[in-house]
C-alpha cells in the first residue's frame, strides 16, 4: 500500500480537527513545499526545497525520542540537521499496515539502544535509493554517485535530494545497505539540543489535556478508592441540578478479573466545564464494593514479607529464564545453605525495603475522544500509541481502520502510560453521550488508581573467607505477583564474582495495579544490593570501592566506571563527623551507572545531599547532551523518592494521594552540585540512558549517611529515618 505525503498530511490535518501539532510551524513557503513533498519510506519524506520530514513512532515525554529518532535517520540519510523537521508518526497507519514502524512502545530506555538498527536502516535505505535514482538519471555507475549533506553529485553533475526524491521513491534496491558503524558518524555522538524545547517555553506544546474539539464537554471520573473494587450504585438525581451538569455515565469492567487491558469499574460525571464536573462528582453519593483489597495494608504486606523472608524462597535459576551473569553455570547454588551453616565468619543482613511509589506525572492522566458512527478520534496519555489505538477499538467494538489516535506531547511518562485506561474511559463516555469529551483525572484519582511501582523487601546472608571476601552469598527478595520480574532486576544480574551464589525469591499477592516505573526493579533492588555490598566490605575490612573493583575483575564495563570513580570523585570513607561519602553502582537497561554521594547530617538528623557525581557507561551515546540531561533527570527522580516518597496503603486504599501528603523533591532540596560524566567503552553494545542514573542514587546516599553517622537507613524515605 502506497501513501503519498500529500494524502498522509491531509488525513492528519482532518484527524486533528484543524489542530496543528508539530515542532515547526511551517511558513507559507514551507507549507507549500510540504504539500509537494515525496515520501521515500514511512519514516521520511523530502520536499522540493530539500527539507526532510522525519516521522517518530515513539512518544516524546521529555526523554528526547523526537530528537533521537530524527538524528538516527538523518545520520544515515546525510542531510544538514537544520533541514530536518520532525513529524508525529500516524498510529492508524502503523496498526493497519502490519506494524509499519515495528513498534510504537516507548519505554525501558530502548528508543536508541534497541531500535537503532532499523531506524538507521530507514535513513540508509532512503540514501541509497536517492543515489540509485541519480545514477540512472545521469547515466553513470552507482559508485560514482556521492550523497552528502542533502546533495547528490557525480563528477560535474550535481542536484539536491529533493530533485531526486520522486525518482528515489520508485527505486527497488537489490540489496539493503548496512548501517554505519561507530566511528563513521558525523551527527550521532555530537551535542544536539532537543527539537521540542522552544515549544515548551511559551505554552504552545500540546498535551492531551490541551486538545479541543468543537462541541466538547468535560468529564471527571471516580474509580473505587480500593483498587479492584466495583461500582454498586450512584445517585445522579442528587446532583443533576448542579450547575453545568449534563449526565452521569457508568464505566463497566468487561472482564471478571481485573486486567491491564480493560476498563476499570468507575463512574463519570459529564458537565459543561471540568470544574463543574468535578464538583458534582465529589457531591454524588456512590456505593462501592471494595472487594478483596479492603483488608490489605502496607503494614499487613510488610508482616507477610517478613514472614516469607524467615523461610526459604524459590531459587532463581538459568533455566527459568534468568538472564543473570551472576548465576552462570559453574556457580554453585545448591551448596550455599550448607556453606553458610558451616561458615566461620557469617554476616546476616537485616531486612531492607522500598515502599509503593506512584508515577505522579505532572500532567494528570487525560484524554479527549470524539466517537462518531464511522470514525473515532482520540488524543491520550499513552507510551504506546499502537497499543492504545487497539484498546480503543476493543473498547468500542470498532475496526482499527476507523480509529485515529493522534500523538501529542506527554506531560511525563515514566512508565505510567502503559497500564492505563484513560483512553478507554474517554471513548466509552463519548460513545455514551454522543459528544466529544475531555476526561481529566484529579490528582487524587490519578495517584489512588495509578499502576504503582510495587514494594520490595530483601535480605541476605554471607560467609566470609580469610581474605574478608565472601565465599558464599545468598539473597532473598520478596516481590509482587503481577510483575515478579521486578524483584529480579539487578539481583539476578549482579556482577559480583562470588564463588557460591544463590538468589531466592518469594512472592506476595495484593490487589494493587502494578506498572513500569522508570527502572522499578533496579531502583528498589539496587538500594538493597548496594548497601549489602557496603556491609560485606565493612565486615571483611575492605574499602567498599576496592571491594567492588576486586569482585568485578575482568568485567570491563564495570571496571571502567569504578576506576573513574576512584580517580575522579575524591573518594574517601573518612570525611569527619557529620559528613560522609558513599558510592553505589547498578547496571540496568544495559548501562553501568555509578554514583558517588556526599552528604552532611546535622545533629538533629537533618540530611543534606551536598553533591552527586555520576559515571555512566552505556557503550555508545548518540547525543551526549541529552544523555546528561536524562542522567540528571533519572537521578533526581530517585533522589525524590529516597528523600520524600512512599505511598501508604491502609484498608486497601492509598491514603496520600496529592502533593501535600505525597511530597516531591523541590528546588531547595536539590543538591547544589550534580555532575555527570560519560565514561563509555565505545565497544559493541548499546545501553539505554533514560533510567540508569536513578538506581545507584538512594544506596549511594544511604552509604554516605552511614559514613556520616554510623547509622544504616534500610528503607525510604530517609526523612522518616531515625538518625
Amino acid at each position: 500500500m502506497k501513501f503519498t505525503r500529500r494524502n498522509f498530511l491531509k488525513v492528519s490535518a482532518t484527524a486533528a480537527g484543524g489542530l496543528v501539532i508539530g515542532f515547526h510551524m511551517p511558513s507559507k513557503a514551507q507549507a507549500e513545499g510540504l504539500a509537494s513533498s515525496t515520501e521515500i519510506n514511512a519514516w521520511l519524506s523530502i520536499d522540493a526545497d530539500n527539507i526532510v520530514s522525519i516521522a517518530t513512532p515513539q512518544t516524546e515525554m521529555g526523554q528526547g525520542a523526537f530528537t533521537a529518532v530524527p538524528m538516527m535517520v538523518a545520520e544515515e540519510l546525510d542531510v544538514p540537521w537544520e533541514n530536518v523537521r520532525h513529524v508525529f508518526a500516524d498510529a492508524n497507519r502503523h496498526v493497519n499496515n502490519g506494524d509499519l514502524y515495528t513498534t510504537t512502545m516507548t519505554g525501558g530506555s530502548m528508543t536508541v539502544s534497541r531500535r537503532h538498527p532499523y531506524i538507521m536502516q530507514a535513513g540508509a535505505s532512503a540514501r541509497e535509493r536517492l543515489r540509485q535514482a541519480a545514477a540512472t538519471r545521469w547515466n553513470v555507475s552507482l559508485d560514482q554517485v556521492v550523497a552528502k549533506q542533502g546533495m547528490l553529485s557525480a563528477g560535474d553533475k550535481q542536484g539536491t535530494y529533493g530533485e531526486f526524491a520522486a525518482d528515489a521513491a520508485a527505486v527497488t534496491l537489490e540489496e539493503e545497505p548496512k548501517i554505519k558503524p561507530y566511528g563513521d558518524w558525523w551527527l550521532l555522538g555530537t551535542d544536539v539540543k532537543r527539537l521540542d524545547v522552544a515549544l515548551k517555553t511559551n505554552g504552545t506544546a500540546v498535551f492531551p489535556i490541551d486538545v479541543e474539539v468543537p462541541g466538547m464537554v468535560y468529564a471527571a471520573v471516580a474509580a473505587c478508592p480500593v483498587p479492584e473494587g466495583k461500582l454498586v450504585s450512584f445517585d445522579f438525581d442528587a446532583i443533576k441540578d448542579m450547575p453545568g451538569v449534563i449526565q452521569a455515565v457508568e464505566l463497566k469492567q468487561t472482564k471478571d478479573t481485573p486486567s491491564f487491558t480493560d476498563l476499570r469499574s468507575a463512574v463519570a460525571v459529564v458537565a459543561e466545564s471540568w470544574y463543574q464536573a468535578k464538583n458534582a462528582l465529589s457531591a454524588m453519593p456512590i456505593v462501592w464494593d471494595f472487594g478483596r483489597g479492603a483488608s490489605i495494608s502496607y503494614e499487613s504486606q510488610t508482616a507477610e514479607a517478613l514472614s516469607l523472608l524467615a523461610g526459604t524462597g524459590t531459587v532463581l535459576r538459568d533455566e527459568e529464564g534468568n538472564p543473570g551473569k551472576g548465576i552462570d553455570k559453574g556457580v554453585n547454588q545448591d551448596d550455599v545453605p550448607g556453606l553458610l551453616e558451616a561458615a566461620t565468619k557469617l554476616v546476616v543482613g537485616e531486612v531492607y525495603s522500598r515502599p509503593f511509589e506512584a508515577h505522579a506525572t505532572m500532567m494528570p492522566p487525560a484524554a479527549v475522544a470524539d466517537v462518531k458512527e464511522d470514525r473515532v478520534d482520540i488524543w491520550t496519555f499513552t507510551q504506546d500509541i499502537g497499543r492504545s489505538l487497539h484498546e480503543v477499538a476493543d473498547q468500542l467494538g470498532r475496526d482499527t481502520a476507523n480509529v485515529h489516535l493522534h500523538q501529542t506531547y506527554l506531560g511525563g511518562g515514566f512508565g505510567g502510560g502503559f497500564n492505563m485506561d484513560v483512553h478507554r474511559q474517554a471513548a466509552a463516555i463519548s460513545a455514551a453521550i454522543g459528544k466529544p469529551v475531555k476526561v481529566i483525572r484529579s490528582r487524587e484519582e490519578d495517584i489512588a488508581g495509578d499502576s504503582q511501582r510495587p514494594p520490595v523487601w530483601g535480605t541476605y546472608k554471607a560467609a566470609l573467607g580469610e581474605d574478608g571476601l565472601p565465599t558464599a552469598l545468598m539473597t532473598h527478595f520478596v516481590g509482587e505477583e503481577k510483575m515478579p520480574n521486578f524483584a529480579r532486576s539487578s539481583v539476578a544480574n549482579m556482577p559480583y564474582l562470588v564463588p557460591n551464589l544463590r538468589h531466592e525469591l518469594s512472592i506476595i499477592q495484593n490487589h494493587v495495579p502494578i506498572g513500569y516505573h522508570r527502572a522499578p526493579g533496579a531502583n528498589s533492588n539496587g538500594f538493597i544490593i548496594e548497601q549489602m555490598v557496603d556491609e560485606l566490605a565493612q565486615a571483611g575490612d575492605w574499602d567498599p570501592l576496592e571491594w567492588r573493583l576486586k569482585l568485578t575483575e575482568g568485567n570491563e564495563p564495570w571496571q571502567r566506571v569504578l576506576l573513574a570513580m576512584k580517580e575522579k570523585s575524591g573518594w574517601t570513607t573518612d570525611m569527619g563527623k557529620g559528613e560522609g561519602m558513599g558510592l553505589a553502582v547498578v547496571e540496568s537497561h544495559g548501562t553501568v551507572a555509578g554514583c558517588v554521594a556526599t552528604v552532611s547530617v546535622s545533629r538533629r538528623g537533618q540530611i543534606y545531599v551536598d553533591r552527586l557525581q555520576y559515571f555512566l557507561n552505556s557503550g555508545y551515546v548518540i547525543n551526549p547532551l541529552n544523555a546528561i540531561e536524562q542522567a540528571e533527570s533519572s537521578a533526581i527522580w530517585e533522589l525524590s523518592h529516597a528523600m520524600f516518597g512512599g505511598l501508604d496503603l491502609r484498608d486497601g486504599r492509598f491514603v496520600n494521594t496529592n502533593f501535600d501528603s505525597y511530597p516531591m523533591l523541590r528546588m531547595p532540596d536539590t543538591p547544589p552540585v550534580i555532575e555527570v560524566e560519560l565514561v563509555n567503552s565505545e565497544d559493541q553494545w548499546w545501553g539505554g540512558l533514560g533510567e540508569p542514573a536513578g538506581p545507584p542514587t538512594p544506596p549511594a546516599i544511604a552509604n554516605a549517611i552511614f559514613y556520616a553517622t554510623g547509622t544504616r537507613v534500610r528503607t525510604t524515605p530517609f526523612t522518616k529515618a531515625a538518625l
Binding site: M61, G62, Q63, K193, R194, D196, V197, A198, L199, K200, T201, N202, G203, T204, A205, V206, F207, I209, D210, E212, P243, S273, W274, Y275, Q276, A360, T361, M362, M363, P364, Y409, L410, G411, G412, G413, F414, I440, S442, R443, L625, E629, E632, S633, S634, A635, I636, W637, L639, S640, N658, F659, D660, M664, L665, R666, M667, P668, T670, P672, I674
Partner: protein
C-alpha cells in the same frame, strides 16, 4: 454570570461561576491552554500565573478575585518566545516533558521582576512552590541566573 477579566493586556468577558478557579476560566473560557492543571490544591505550581505582579496559583484562586486586576499568563510574557527567561530556558535546554514549565517560567519572571539579581537562596525560596517530576531544577537555577545576567545588558 458575566465576569470581566484583563488577561495579557486584553479585556475579555466570560460567563462563569464567580467561585470557578481562575485556572479553568483561563483554560476553558479564555482558551489559553499554556497554564496547566497539576494538583488542584496549590501544591505544585503548574497553574502559576502573575496577578498584579505577584505569582499566584490559579487552581485555587476564585475567578471573581481576579476582576479588575492585570492577569498575565505564559502566552503574555513575549510575542516571539524571547523573554530573557524564555531565551535562557532554551539555551540551557531546561524543559524535558515541559508540562510544569509554564508555571516554572511564570514564577521565575515574577521573581526577576521583584529581585533582578537573585542569589541561589532567593531562587530556591521563590521557586519552592513549583514541582518538576523530570528534575530540571539544576537547569532552572542556572537559567534564572543567566536570565538575570542577560537582563542587565
Amino acid at each position: 454570570m458575566a465576569i470581566s477579566l484583563n488577561i495579557n493586556g486584553k479585556d475579555i468577558s466570560i460567563d462563569a461561576d464567580p467561585q470557578m478557579p481562575l485556572l479553568w476560566a483561563i483554560r476553558e473560557k479564555a482558551g489559553l491552554n499554556g497554564t496547566k492543571f497539576g494538583c488542584g490544591i496549590a501544591q505544585c505550581g503548574a497553574c502559576m500565573v502573575i496577578v498584579d505582579g505577584a505569582a499566584v496559583r490559579s487552581c485555587n484562586t476564585p475567578v471573581a478575585s481576579a476582576v479588575g486586576k492585570a492577569i498575565r499568563t505564559i502566552e503574555g510574557i513575549s510575542e516571539n518566545n524571547d523573554h530573557p527567561v524564555q531565551v535562557a530556558w532554551q539555551e540551557l535546554t531546561v524543559p524535558q516533558c515541559g508540562y510544569c514549565q509554564s508555571g516554572q517560567i511564570m514564577s521565575a519572571v515574577a521573581l526577576l521582576e521583584r529581585t533582578p539579581n537573585p542569589s541561589d537562596t532567593e531562587i530556591d525560596k521563590s521557586m519552592a512552590g513549583n514541582i518538576c517530576r523530570c528534575g530540571t531544577y539544576p537547569r532552572i537555577r542556572a537559567a534564572i541566573h543567566q536570565a538575570a545576567e542577560a537582563s542587565k545588558d
